[in-house]
């Protein structure tokens, strides 16, 4: 293949006139991590609430949670990204919409992307947690109520601590998925890692150097997450007799979800 590799091009000045391409990629990696981690925190908090709502007795709560999950899982992430970025400011009252559109460069893209990834992840984590809760023996819940705990107490002290322990591995792969999904934010103009690589490709024409660098950084981030999971799992294994595996209760259709 007659492609001129030139690894020194990372030291060239990028079009912003301040940073080299290497620095723009570093900044991009930081945006990726910041976006993915904060979206994951939102998804974990809201996902726990929706996931619990899917398992409670109240029919209304279950219907609301199920609607939420179906709505967010059946629309492509890219379309959701456009809805948050292009459509939401138009639907809000005029002054508020105009104020949103005036937010400065990276933040004006960061917040819609954060909301988008957070609410999308919420639906996925809710499903994971629901299968975790369903994998527990029914006796656990019955015993909690028999002891006189309220519904809230039963979830806080009996059901959720066990359910979360079961779903640690799927929750970790969800964090990795969120890191990968955060690349979609480049379509609304956030220069995260993929966006920075794409922009370097566009301006410097060193296509494969740029994409190689981004690929290596994604590998590195993934390795860190996998290593973190290993530490958490070791700690959990030491501190508890493990309950039944979540996978045995997962419906087959969810195996392919990642």
């Amino acid at each position: 293949m007659n492609y001129q590799w030139n690894w020194t091009s990372f030291n060239d000045l990028s079009p912003d006139g301040v940073h080299t391409y290497l620095q723009t990629l570093q900044i991009g990696a930081c945006w990726t991590i910041a976006l993915a981690v904060s979206a994951y925190v939102i998804a974990l908090l809201l996902g726990s609430i929706i996931g619990v709502m899917r398992t409670v007795d109240s029919k209304i709560a279950r219907a609301i949670a199920a609607t939420y999950v179906e709505l967010f899982r059946n629309v492509p992430l890219l379309v959701q990204m456009f809805l948050w970025y292009f459509v939401l400011p138009e639907l809000l009252p005029k002054p508020l919409g105009a104020a949103i559109k005036q937010i400065q460069q990276p933040w004006g893209q960061f917040f819609p992307a954060l909301l988008c990834l957070g609410f999308y992840g919420t639906a996925r984590i809710a499903e994971t947690l629901r299968s975790g809760i369903r994998s527990l023996r029914a006796g656990q819940r019955q015993a909690a109520f028999a002891l006189g705990l309220s519904g809230f107490q039963a979830y806080c002290f009996v059901i959720l601590p066990q359910a979360f322990r079961v779903v640690v591995p799927p929750l970790t792969s969800e964090l990795m998925a969120t890191i990968k999904y955060s690349s979609v934010a480049m379509t609304i103009g956030l220069l995260e890692l993929t966006g920075a690589a794409r922009s370097m490709q566009e301006f410097s024409f060193h296509t494969f150097e740029a994409f190689s660098a981004a690929t290596i950084v994604y590998f590195a981030i993934n390795s860190v997450v996998v290593y973190g999971l290993m530490l958490v799992e070791r700690k959990l294994a030491a501190s508890s007799s493990s309950p039944r595996k979540a996978s045995s209760a997962l419906p087959l259709s969810e195996v392919g979800q990642s």
Binding site: M1, N2, Y3, E70, L71, R73, N74, V75, P76, L77, L78, V79, Q80, F82, L83, F86, V87, E90, L91, M176, I179, K180, Y181, S182, S183, V184, M186, T187, T194, A197, R198, Q201, T207, F208, F211, A214, T215, Y218, F219, N222, P251, L252, S253, E254, V255, G256, Q257, S258
Partner: protein, 229 residues
């Protein structure tokens, strides 16, 4: 905001649906079929006792699964012309186009995910099936193709179909290389009639309708399969 322009948009829908939807559906179908074939091969390689087969397959699958699809799309979009030139001994990069590079990208990317589903499927078949096949005098290949794989595919049908729905949603990412898919069709309509808000909402509704009804179908199928078993 008014919905005044909605009439024109609806009038242009047949064209959009024809061009855009055809692209998205063909891409999904091709990537699903080729991806499943390649994924099954990868699964067999990963489970093979030979390191020469299992190590490269594992590296490929794990590599694909740790990189965002968007980056993979860019990789192949820009790499394909060079590979084409190399295959055809052409001195200059060959024009491949967004459609063909998208088919290659999605086939390779999805094969990594199908591989993991098929691996779980093959592992779910009792070991006695393979032993019985070998005891009957079938070769490993015959037993795999006529005994184990058909059962594995049947057990994994719901998971495979769910993955195909995800794949259909993911094809919207060809937006990044400018291909004319369903989403792009809606976007073009929005620009033409200066009604981007309505068309994006309409796009979301169309995607939701398609994906939701498909996933309902998968759920019904899953119930049927469970009863038979």
């Amino acid at each position: 905001m008014t919905f005044l322009g909605l009439k024109e948009i609806v009038a242009s829908l047949p064209y959009l649906l024809k061009v855009g939807l055809t692209f998205s559906v063909t891409l999904t179908a091709l990537a699903a079929v080729f991806g499943l074939m390649l994924g099954t091969l990868l699964a067999l390689c990963r489970m093979s006792p030979s390191r020469l087969l299992s190590v490269p397959a594992t590296l490929f699958v794990n590599g694909m699964r740790s990189v965002p699809l968007l980056l993979v799309i860019f990789w192949f979009y820009f790499l394909a012309p060079y590979v084409g030139a190399w295959i055809m001994h052409s001195p200059t990069p060959v024009e491949v186009g967004a459609y063909r590079s998208a088919v290659i990208t999605f086939t390779l990317f999805e094969s990594a995910y199908f591989c993991e589903i098929m691996r779980a499927g093959i592992a779910s078949i009792a070991r006695g099936q393979m032993q019985a096949g070998l005891a009957l005098g079938l070769t490993y290949r015959q037993t795999m193709i006529t005994v184990v794989l058909p059962q594995a595919v049947r057990n994994m049908t719901p998971a495979l179909l769910t993955r195909v729905i995800t794949l259909f949603q993911d094809t919207s990412l060809v937006y990044a290389i400018g291909a004319y898919d369903l989403l792009k069709g809606f976007e073009v309509a929005g620009k033409n009639f200066n009604r981007p808000v309505e068309t994006y909402i309409l796009a979301a509704m169309v995607y939701f309708t398609i994906c939701f009804s498909l996933s309902m179908g998968v759920r019904a199928l899953q119930k049927r399969i469970q009863i038979i078993r």
